[in-house]
């Protein structure tokens, strides 16, 4: 535009008219200034990429740790709940020693008890009216072989009667369970879990292996049936098992060790009544009267023992993780505060310019708060994804389904944003109350 022309046409930038759009009401001012604040904050983060990345680390670690642990534990919880509910709260056991022994003294005490025998199991089956299914099981770890294939650490489970399969919650996929006559005959027959097929028969289909012979602990056993796979828990397969009749088990491994009696009731409501009856029967058989202080001479347990132990272990893990996360968020927050103070110092002159142009305290405050929150929220975001990634990796290793919880994701970003507000507040306030004259003078 020609300058002379402008002079002739009239005043180009007269000091008078203010545009009607210019609002004295706060809301428009806030929106325009807020956009500017966000724009400047993000531009500043982009301009200092390395610094931003370093600032993020504390927040990322804290959030990722919590997200990973919470996600993994939720996955495990779900897995444990579905696994134990198949058998779960309708089954209890009578054994010489409880499954979890907490002290050496207890171990000695339990060992002095009389063995739980087949006769005990028969007495329970005969006398307990509330009991639905009663079975006996004993376990031994052996090596199974077929041809040149070898499968170590197979759980050989001697059971009787056949209802023990129902109590264990396993079903036949192919073939059959032994008959009563076969069961008492002591013949070397077996029903195998699906891992046996994978390891000894190269993953052959279930019906192809019926009638085949495998060696267990050096003794040949004929396969009568194959079980439906159950899957694994905590990385341990539940399918690396071979069921044999208890008589066969006794012949091979003797009767020297105590057995475990399994009792199942139709519904969880009847559990207590059945437990009371079984307790009375067992006390009678051990020649004991009711006395809380005296050792009853046997252990009566439900699956709740495992669930309690599991619950305690995971809640401890949760607390520890929350503690670690809190510390790393605290450290992350201090780092953010430090960086924000540096940022305010570096940009003192910019703050002066903005104030001279009419930025109010709260405009400057908002600008730096947004910058702090943008850093920590970004950290939280990355942390959430890292956490889910970790959980995914670990779940793939252990083998349980992953439950992605959107609330924990929102919580991760939310908490880290809060850290941003808290740690950004003081630096932002320092920026906001800078004297414009001093600020403009700074280099």
């Amino acid at each position: 535009m020609d300058r002379r022309a402008a002079r002739e046409t009239g005043p180009a930038l007269a000091p008078s008219e203010r545009h009607p759009a210019q609002s004295r009401s706060g809301s428009l001012v806030r929106i325009a200034a807020l956009w500017e604040a966000a724009f400047v904050a993000l531009a500043s983060l982009r301009a200092n990429k390395l610094r931003t990345a370093l600032t993020l680390i504390g927040i990322v670690v804290g959030v990722a740790a919590v997200i990973a642990v919470v996600t993994i534990i939720q996955g495990l919880d779900n897995k444990v709940a579905t696994t134990f509910s198949s058998q779960g709260s309708t089954v209890f056991t009578i054994s010489k020693r409880p499954q979890i022994i907490r002290s050496r003294e207890d171990f000695v005490k339990f060992n002095k008890r009389k063995d739980v025998t087949h006769e005990d199991a028969e007495a329970i089956a005969r006398l307990c009216t509330s009991c639905w299914r009663v079975g006996v099981a004993a376990n031994v770890i052996q090596t199974a072989k077929h041809g040149d294939q070898k499968f170590e650490n197979v759980r050989v489970r001697g059971v009787t009667p056949q209802t023990m399969f129902d109590i264990d919650g396993v079903t036949i996929e192919a073939g059959r369970i032994w008959t009563d006559a076969e069961g008492t005959s002591g013949r070397p027959i077996c029903v195998v879990g699906s891992d046996v097929l994978t390891n000894l028969f190269g993953g052959a289909s279930a019906d192809r292996v019926i009638g085949e012979e495998i060696s267990i602990g050096g003794r040949p056993h004929q396969i009568l049936g194959v079980l439906e796979p159950l899957g694994s828990i905590f990385g341990a397969s539940r399918d690396s098992v071979v069921y044999i009749p208890y008589t066969t088990y006794q012949k091979a491994y003797g009767a020297r060790d105590s057995i475990v009696v399994f009792i199942q009731v139709p519904t969880a409501d009847e559990l207590e009544a059945a437990e009371d009856q079984v307790r009375t029967i067992m006390r009678n058989r051990r020649g004991r009267v009711f006395n809380e202080d005296e050792d009853p001479g046997f252990a009566l347990e439900t699956q709740d023992v495992f669930l309690d132990l599991y619950g305690k272990a995971t809640s401890n893990i949760k607390y520890v993780t929350v503690g670690v996360a809190a510390i790393s968020l605290l450290v992350g927050g201090i780092v953010v505060m430090n960086i924000m103070l540096v940022s305010v110092t570096e940009r003192t002159r910019e703050i002066g310019i903005r104030k001279a142009m009419g930025a109010r305290r709260k405009d400057i405050l908002t600008q730096f708060l947004i910058e702090a929150v943008a850093v920590t929220a970004l950290g939280g975001f990355i942390g959430v994804f890292t956490g889910f990634g970790l959980a995914y990796g670990i779940s793939a290793l252990i083998g349980f389904p992953l439950l992605i919880n959107l609330w924990s994701a929102a919580g991760g970003v939310g908490v880290s944003s809060l850290v941003g507000i808290i740690s950004g507040m003081w630096p932002a306030w320092r920026a906001a109350k800078l004297d414009p004259i001093e600020a403009l003078r700074s280099e």
């Binding site: 300058r3 428009l28 004259i437």
Partner: protein, 254 residues
């Protein structure tokens, strides 16, 4: 494109606003300073940067405030620009008593009434020319479409229509100062307050910038120039000389 605004922004606007004064002491005065004192406490000692300064500036005047360094002219400039408030005395700007305002009210006045031009330009280094010019509009709460339009017009008025997307480091000193002037003018302030606007420029560019100020004055703007250079001050129509915190001379030269 700026011709549209050229026609719409006329001298009548100035008169209308002057008549609408908010009860200031003199409706024709844009700036009225009454016995202004500025005192700093340096430890136990009190230093009077200004003592008893009084003067008035009418709309459309072109004045220069001069004085040696340490005379108090910077303090006076900060007061005129509402960056600071006096320790004593009254300062009326465009009918408003600025001497009683708090920080946020002063920010509002700076945004609406004052257009700053600094010796070192004070542009935001990372922002484009357009964004720099938009800055007062942002804090004035103007929507983005209107803001772009107003900022483009202001840049066109200082002959920088083809430099809107340039950043300060892509512009010459003279161009940077013109961006700063566009920024000062974009909000149509009551006064254009320039602090040594040619101090960082060579003689030729200085001349161009002074021509621009003269043109802006002719277009109806009130220009207050703070300088220690006599030949720059001589371009103004009235010179106020400050020495030892007081007005030494106040003369209309044309």
């Amino acid at each position: 494109m700026s011709d549209v605004t050229l026609a719409s922004l006329s001298a009548e606007g100035i008169q209308a606003r002057a008549a609408n004064g908010h009860g200031g002491p003199d409706t024709t005065s844009l700036i009225a300073m009454r016995d202004i004192w500025k005192t700093y406490e340096m430890g136990s000692e009190k230093v009077h940067a200004l003592h008893g300064v009084s003067f008035e500036v009418r709309k459309g005047e072109y004045i220069a405030i001069t004085g040696p360094s340490g005379s108090g002219k910077s303090t006076l400039m900060n007061l005129i620009g509402c960056l600071d408030t006096p320790s004593n005395g009254e300062y009326w700007l465009n009918g408003k008593n600025v001497s009683l305002m708090d920080d946020d009210e002063l920010a509002r006045i700076r945004n609406q009434e004052v257009g700053f031009v600094f010796q070192t330009f004070n542009l935001l280094a990372r922002a484009t020319a357009l964004h720099n010019v938009e800055l007062p509009l942002i804090y004035g709460g103007i929507g983005s479409a209107k803001r772009h339009q107003m900022a483009r017009e202001a840049l066109a008025a200082v002959d920088l229509a083809d430099r809107v997307t340039h950043r300060p480091n892509e512009l010459s000193g003279g161009q940077r100062q013109r961006v700063a002037i566009a920024r000062a003018l974009v909000n149509h302030p009551s006064i254009l307050l320039a602090d040594e606007p040619t101090g960082a420029l060579d003689t030729h560019t200085s001349g161009e910038i002074m021509d621009l100020f003269e043109r802006l004055h002719e277009e109806g703007n009130t220009v207050v120039l703070v300088t220690h250079e006599p030949d720059i001050a001589a371009r103004a129509h009235r010179i106020i000389s400050i020495r030892d915190g007081q007005i030494e001379k106040d003369q209309v030269i044309r």
